[in-house]
């Protein structure tokens, strides 16, 4: 009986120690470092921008290019090089099978909790260095999306710019010569309303660098 009692006490102590150890690891775990999920754009070019009113940009974030940084969230960064206000009609991320085009999931993307924000590019609190230009691009971090990018899928970020005069004057930082793993193209009309089982439109611009999406990180 004494032996059993000792054994039970020993096991209990070990359990307490193990649980305590795990708890301490959790407490001491450092904050996750900022990490690129794919290689973003390396330099700013800001050439050949069309008038963005009424246009959508689609950007492929390829699963085959993910760099192994595990994350349950994804942060998307837009880069502006011109204009005073960007009026966004809608933003989403489409999930498709790797190298495929059939949508299997649609994730909302927001800024300030809305999918249709207006971004004041002349506000120093939004764009600290004024005026915004190719030399002083304004990088806007969208709200973190609860989306874990995985190599078995491709992801398309789609953004639609409302048909208004503000968007006639905005410009994106892209079309750089160091596009990383991202590629984008633009189309007329709102391409952010494709449903599940719908198809991503054909990329007529091949593998050009995106205009607006600059970086994809874990936070």
């Amino acid at each position: 009986m004494k032996t059993l009692c000792k054994l039970a006490t020993f096991i209990l102590m070990m359990t307490v120690l193990a649980v305590s150890s795990f708890a301490q690891e959790t407490e001491k775990a450092p904050a996750a470092a900022l990490a690129n999920l794919v290689e973003g754009q390396g330099i700013i070019a800001s050439t050949s921008n069309p008038q963005w009113d009424g246009l959508s940009e689609l950007v492929l974030i390829p699963g085959a290019a993910l760099m192994g940084a595990s994350s349950t969230t994804t942060s998307l960064y837009l880069g502006f090089t011109g204009g005073s206000e960007a009026d966004i009609g809608n933003m989403v991320v489409y999930e498709v099978p790797r190298n495929g085009s059939t949508v299997i999931k649609v994730e909302k993307v927001t800024l300030g909790a809305t999918q249709s924000p207006s971004i004041n590019l002349t506000s120093p609190s939004v764009c600290p260095v004024q005026p915004v230009s190719a030399t002083n691009p304004c990088i806007v971090r969208l709200d973190t999306v609860k989306l874990s990018l995985t190599p078995a899928y491709d992801f398309y970020f789609a953004i639609y710019f409302t048909l208004d005069t503000n968007n006639e004057k905005i410009a994106g930082l892209g079309q750089s010569g160091a596009q990383g793993a991202l590629s984008g193209w633009f189309l007329y009309g709102d391409q952010t309303r494709i449903g599940v089982k719908g198809s991503i439109p054909t990329n007529e611009d091949s593998d050009q660098a995106p205009f607006f999406l600059a970086y994809v990180t874990n936070e």
Binding site: A18, V19, P62, L66, A181, N203
Partner: protein, 212 residues
């Protein structure tokens, strides 16, 4: 007796707890694979394809195994005569190691592209490529080496005349490739990767290089 039961329960809880903390590793890219849509290139009987996996392009993900994924866009059966992975020092063409690559335990598999268990979407096409996962190879890719995956398609083979391989459209991959007529899958250590091959283009067929 109650104490004994309690002890057993405690041990079981501990075991379950420990088991719960261990997670299965997720497949990760070892290098940036083929990105975006693909087209098709047909008729490969008697040819060897080369795919360069540059050490300089490796993503810092540690793995003791490497898994290659091949893409097919046409045909009903692929007859592969041999598959190998050559290792060279980074930037060199001199082979320092030769590793057999297998599917179903053999280096000369025939792949039934008309079988839905192999290619879920039939009929395969450039729009619906069939991605075939080869057996995991026990090799840890090193940034100090380059690697050449060579696949030789059986000569004078009617099936391989109709086989289509994925042809990348976009240029962002770290993978590079080439091909030529004849069997280049039987080179030995000390041999040389053919110097006449250019590796400026993306590879035919090799789509991804992953940990699993």
């Amino acid at each position: 007796m109650k104490i004994l039961k309690f002890a057993t329960l405690t041990v079981m809880m501990l075991a379950l707890s420990t088991f719960g903390f261990s997670k299965a590793a997720k497949p990760e890219n070892l290098v940036r694979g083929i990105v975006g849509p693909v087209t098709s290139n047909v008729s490969w009987s008697g040819y060897s394809t080369f795919a360069l996996i540059p050490g300089a392009g490796l993503i810092p993900v540690t793995s003791s195994t490497t898994v290659f994924y091949l893409g097919f866009t046409a045909g009903t059966q692929v007859d592969i005569n041999n598959m190998v992975l050559y290792t060279t020092p980074r930037g060199s063409l001199t082979i320092s190691a030769v590793t057999p690559i297998k599917l179903g335990g053999v280096s000369n598999p025939s792949i039934d592209l008309a079988n839905p268990t192999v290619c879920p979407v039939v009929e395969i096409s450039a729009f619906n490529p069939c991605i075939v996962r080869l057996d995991p190879t026990t090799i840890t890719l090193s940034a100090l080496s380059d690697y050449y995956l060579v696949v030789y398609f059986t000569a004078s083979d009617g099936n391989d005349q109709s086989v289509g391989l994925t042809t990348p459209s976009f240029s962002q991959s770290s993978l590079r490739g080439s091909y030529q007529s004849g069997d280049d899958s039987r080179l030995s250590v000390g041999g040389t990767i053919p110097t006449n091959l250019g590796f400026s283009a993306q590879p035919y067929m090799l789509m991804y290089v992953m940990t699993d």
